[in-house]
Structure formats: C-alpha cells, structure tokens
Assembly symmetry: C2
C-alpha cells in the first residue's frame, strides 16, 4: 500500500469533487426559483458520492466505500481498505448559506485510520493528515494543540443538547456552557471538528453522529494530539451512529468526567 | 449632505481598516508566542477605532463617532451626523479563529439611519445599504427576503439563552429551538445579522447587545425587509445596551409573540 500515492489521489479527487459542486451550485443557483432546493441538494450529494465511488473503483476495485448517501456497496466491517465518505457535510448550510459545508473522508486500512480529510468546498480549504506523518491546513503544518483551561475554552455544542432531551443530562451540559468562555454552533460536524484540530475551537460534542461525519476528523485529530471518542470515552463506533466528542487533550477527560452524564 | 460621496468615503476607510487589521494580524501572529493575545487584540481594536476617528474628522470635523472602544468624544444624542462603529465585532473569534470577525458601521443623520456596513475582514466581504436605495453583498444587490415558515427557519441564538437566566423565560426559547429547523451561533453579532439580511439565517436574537453591534445591520435590514427591534418589539435603543432581534418579516412577530417572555 503506497500511502503517499493514495494521499495524492485522494486530494486530487476531493478537489475535483469540490470544483464539480461549486460549478453545479453556481449553475443551479441561477435556476433556483424553478427547482426544489431539497431535490437539488440530494442530487448534488448523490452525484458527488457516485463520482467518488467511480474514481476510487478505477483506482483500486478492491477498496470499499461507506458513504452517507449509501450509493456504494454495503460495508459491514473495516477489513481491507475502506473509504468513509460524506460528500456534503452541512446540507442545510449548503442550501441556505452557500458556505460552511464540507467534503470529509477517512481512509482506513484493516480498521486503522491512515488518511483523513476535511475540505471546505467554498473556501477551498483543506485540513488533512497522514497517520504518523502529521496534519496540515492547506500547505501549513498543524501544530500540536496547546493546553487550554476549561474556563478559557470555546466549545462547539448545539443549543438542543442544553435543553431536556433523551440522550444526556442537560443540567450538566448547562454547567459546562456556563463554565467555558463561549459556545459556537456551525451546523456542520466536520467544520466543528476541523476547527478543533486547528485550535479554533477547544472541543465539540454531539449526542448523535454517523461514521461519515467524523471518520476523516478522527484521523486528523491523532496527529495534533486532539482526543476523539464517544461520550463514554470509548473509540467512536465507525459502523453505526454514536455519541461523539473531540477536544483539546487538556480538557477532554474533564468534560467527560464532570459534565457528561448519558441517560 | 452628499450621501453618495459619504458612502464612497465610508467604504474606502472600511477597506483600508480591514487591510490594516490583516497586516497587523499577519505580523503579530508571527510573534504570537511573545505577546499576550488579549493585549494584541485590544491594541488592534483601539488602533482601528482611532484610525476611523482620524479619517472621519479629516472628512468632516462635525461628524460624531460612537465606538465600542470609547476612543471618540462622548455621544449622548443622535443629533447631527453620528457614526456608530464597532472596529472588531467578534473579538474572541479574532483571537482564536483568525476569521469570523467584522467591522460594522452605521451612519445616522439626525437620528435616521442612512448608511450601514458589515465587513467580514478576512473574507473581504462587504454587506452594505443606503436607506431608500437598496442593499448589496459586494457587487450583488440583496433581494427582499422571501417568506419562510418558522418550522423551516434556521435561527442564530446562543446556547446561554436556552438555559435558566435572568433576562428571559428560557422555557419559551426551548420551545422555539424545538420548533425551528436548526440553530447556529457564530460568536459575532454582526456576522449573524449579515446572515439574516442575506437570507443565510432567518432570525437572530440576543438578550444583550450594544449600539455598535447592531447599528450598521439595522440600516441594512430595512432595505431587504428584515425586521429589527428589541425584544419588546420597540426600536433598538441606539444609545445604550438593549435586547435585540432581527428576523425575516414573516416570523418576526410570531417569535416575539409566542416565544419571547422577558423577565
């Protein structure tokens, strides 16, 4: 397995897919009044996933693809080489904001994360990593995260989770929100994860994410020292939905121990 | 009063100030480890406000300036021509994220909003309006907002306000968060306001904002049909802190009537 070559290939098709989305988007925006925005998005989402599947199968037909849109084969294990792909993370942002949506991909070899990508399509910004070789924001190496105190942290959390819900004790999360310096919510998990690995946020947590939301980010996290887990502190389950947190290592354990109480 | 000329002048000094911030920022980032990030920000904030004051006084010494940093004279009324300026809205984003901070300015003549600006410094994106003449996003005219149902709305609200607090009945806001399609929080009031006037968000509300946070946005709002008010439904008080909401006109009244209960 030539990971360098695979990395170049992955970056190439991610940038190609980004260009396709920007083109389709720019064309379809002109006919926006005629088309249903939801259908438009679903179509671009699916077309992008099919684009990835075709390119990857051309590259190596033994690679398996697990994608949000389910256009690939059924993937029930991480044996062999598995690409976990979200062609558009942040669908609602895509529709309403025309920004803040990401392509994100994690490539796993025999269950081990090797290559991770989060690509901000409209900014043309790439966060990526190769396990053991570091992480980058475009051409700039990402540094190891510096320690941060919880009182000075800015965290990504959706308002929903500090209201009564079935997943988690919201009273504890209210304490968390009051303890930290500030909270943010961008409506795209991969964007919030990209912000954590680059120190723009100090933590991000969610009660329900899918493998394709986090696969790329988990791999980048390792290279900058960010800790990613489910909210029990275990590895995120890459074959089903799970709870999720990624955080600066100086506050990951503290948040889990003091502020997260799953129901 | 030649508003066209004043508009050109305002845009010119906003872009100059943006360039100064980007330059200072890029230089100071290199010495980041030596300097205290908070001091750095305070300095750039103040220097930017002083830059505006000097330029404006050169243009017309009778113009008054009300700024966040308080570097201008004391402004106790909106008589004459008053510039209300926030040199950097989103200070924490400036420090941690190196993006998502705005210069925002409103120019009032005898208490009436005439020219409004929100400038995303790092994107070099300008949202602006001249009262009675329309609003623009860079060179593109902003359209009147289309009606939206509350159930399909995406709103800007900080997680703090759906937790028990002294300002507002949070139980009602929890209902609001559950009713809408989604929530966002960007940590910069002017950014959320810019998103509402351009249809990227459908509403934004806060329990405590200052005149410089909203002055520019309120003027842009009028031109696209967005409604801006305090949370009692009255005009925002431009000489002191106040509650605030800006929203698509199809949901502004509904949110106020059904979901906002001030304490």
């Amino acid at each position: 397995m030539d990971l360098q070559q695979l990395d170049l290939f992955a970056k190439d098709i991610i940038r190609q897919a980004g260009q396709r989305i920007r083109d389709a988007f720019s064309y379809d925006l002109k006919v926006e009044t005629k088309s249903d925005a939801n259908d438009l998005v679903t179509n671009i989402d699916r077309e992008t996933e099919v684009f990835f599947i075709e390119k990857i199968k051309e590259y190596d037909s033994s690679h398996k693809i697990l994608g949000e849109e389910g256009m690939g084969e059924k993937v029930e294990s991480l044996d062999g080489v598995v690409w976990i792909i979200d062609p558009i993370d942040g669908t609602m942002n895509f529709v309403k904001q025309h920004r803040h949506f990401m392509i994100t991909i994690g490539i796993f070899v025999e269950g081990v994360g090797k290559l991770g990508y989060i690509y901000d399509v409209m900014r043309e910004d790439l966060f990526c990593a190769m396990t053991g070789h570091g992480a980058w924001y475009n051409d700039t190496p990402l540094r190891k995260l510096k320690p941060v105190k919880l009182e000075e942290a800015v965290i990504g959390i959706n308002a929903t989770w500090v209201t009564p819900n079935k997943k988690v004790n919201h009273e504890k999360l209210i304490e968390l929100v009051r303890t930290v310096r500030g909270t943010r919510s961008y409506g795209a998990a991969a964007m919030e994860i990209a912000f954590v690995v680059s120190g723009k946020l100090d933590a991000y947590l969610s009660m329900r994410l899918s493998p394709w939301d986090v696969a790329g980010g988990i791999i980048i996290a390792q290279e900058v020292g960010a800790l990613a887990s489910n909210l029990k502190g275990q590895p995120f389950n890459l074959l089903m939905q799970d709870t999720f947190m990624i955080a600066n290592p100086s506050i990951h354990g503290q948040i889990l121990a003091q502020y997260v109480e799953l129901k």
